[in-house]
Symmetry: C2
Subunit: 268 residues, 2 copies
């Protein structure tokens, strides 16, 4: 195999498996090449990714050593994604009865959501989390894409406890968007006590649902080390959780004049 | 930029955006290179992917022409995935009360589910579908990964109609695993009449849920052109839908002797 063939294959394999460590031996076996050649290939692959701002390739030394790809979305690409989201969200046809916005087409658009998941992975990569946690339903694609980018297991809290979840822990919480008491349950098999979690959801208004996830994780003595939502409302300014990252803010939905005011998170 | 740098970047960009067409101009602009050089790069990238069985790169001529990456899981890699799934599923600790199996850790493992989604994309790539459709909850990660690999929008039917879905169509169906009447609803905004859909779900026993999805899609005059499930039970042999693809079959769950019999789909 020629050098450029090996480099192409290395980049494909690493970037399809974010944050998964591959040993040098894996590639020497796969390509039937010397360790020294593979090492040079990796140096070049690393430079390509960095120059093109396509993420990072990191080499780890030691017994558990090897090489891995870390998704890392540049500021420019984050801005592009947020601008695309804002322009989609401004569409007046999204306005539903009661001032709600239809967003399922965005939340279930894998191409958008995959990039958003990589943005959260970029923001939370240093948090040493053990899980990505969400509650059903609309946040699941975003959470699974974030989990994939971080190479972490996804945990999905359910609205009802299901027989297929085994024994569960349940809590009641108040959802901000409906102001009603809701139930959330989590399988005991899904998580380990004393671990760390990143919470991901599609939408935050009062923060009640995110607070509910934090509370149910507290029952398992799990620390929440980051909260990310795709969209949050500007009001109420005080949410039931602190320190969350929102990609997009909704300022106002004016049903009468059919105007939706949204803006991107300029801190990202 | 050197050739091997361009090839590496082309492979990363294409494979991160399955089934999305990129024009040659996109790459000539990005790399500030001549069209002839990029064309040669693509020929090499194509050969790398084919030789290494990492998927296909296809060039399309004409006005809407360009180049795209098509995920294509080899028979060997499909077998590896199915064997990994079987060995995970055989774990006796999965047995829950009533002979149910705990599978959430698998269904929410993005690395496994991404590969399974690519297997379904490989199987259904020629079906010219417009949507991937599932019903909440556990099949969503698999469906979103399939949708991503096929570059199709995902549509998620809900158990209840939500205010955030706008006007919906609802049906009642009988779930095979619980034998109870359940409700399923789909947003009118999510789909267009006369289109084609691939149905994806995590698990099939009697096929009642899949039948429900087919029925609700019929209300929208949408043709189901493929059904894929990760796991199905051997019994009942006659399901309520025909022509489905299952990666794994469960033959028997013997709660008393703690034995689970599973086997892979040898036709894939």
């Amino acid at each position: 195999m020629k050098r450029n063939e090996r480099i192409g294959a290395i980049i494909k394999i690493l970037s399809s498996n974010p944050n998964k460590i591959f040993t040098l031996n894996f590639f020497t076996d796969k390509f039937d090449s010397a360790k020294s050649s593979i090492s040079e290939d990796i140096v070049i692959a690393k430079r390509i990714m960095e120059n093109m701002k396509l993420g990072k390739i990191e080499t780890l030394s030691g017994a558990a050593g090897g090489v891995k790809y870390i998704p890392c979305v540049s500021k420019e690409d984050t801005k592009l994604l947020m601008d695309e989201l804002c322009s989609k969200l401004k569409d007046e046809n999204r306005i539903l009865a009661g001032g709600f916005l239809y967003t399922s087409d965005i939340m279930f658009n894998s191409s958008i959501i995959k990039r958003a998941g990589e943005v959260f992975a970029t923001q939370f990569s240093h948090k040493n989390a053990d899980y990505v946690v969400t509650v059903e339903t609309k946040g699941i694609p975003l959470a699974v894409m974030t989990a994939d980018a971080l190479n972490l297991p996804l945990v999905v809290a359910r609205r009802d406890s299901k027989v297929s979840e085994g024994s569960t822990v349940s809590i009641n919480y108040i959802s901000g968007s409906t102001d009603r008491i809701q139930k959330m349950s989590m399988s005991k098999r899904a998580v380990k006590q004393g671990s760390r979690a990143i919470v991901i959801d599609d939408f935050m208004k009062g923060g009640g649902t995110a607070r509910g996830i934090v509370d149910i994780l507290t029952e398992f003595e799990i620390e929440v080390v980051g909260i990310g939502v795709l969209i949050s409302t500007k009001k109420p300014e005080k949410k039931l959780v602190e320190d969350y990252i929102s990609l997009i803010f909704i300022d106002e939905v004016d049903s009468e004049n059919k105007k939706i005011q949204v803006y991107p998170n300029n801190n990202l």
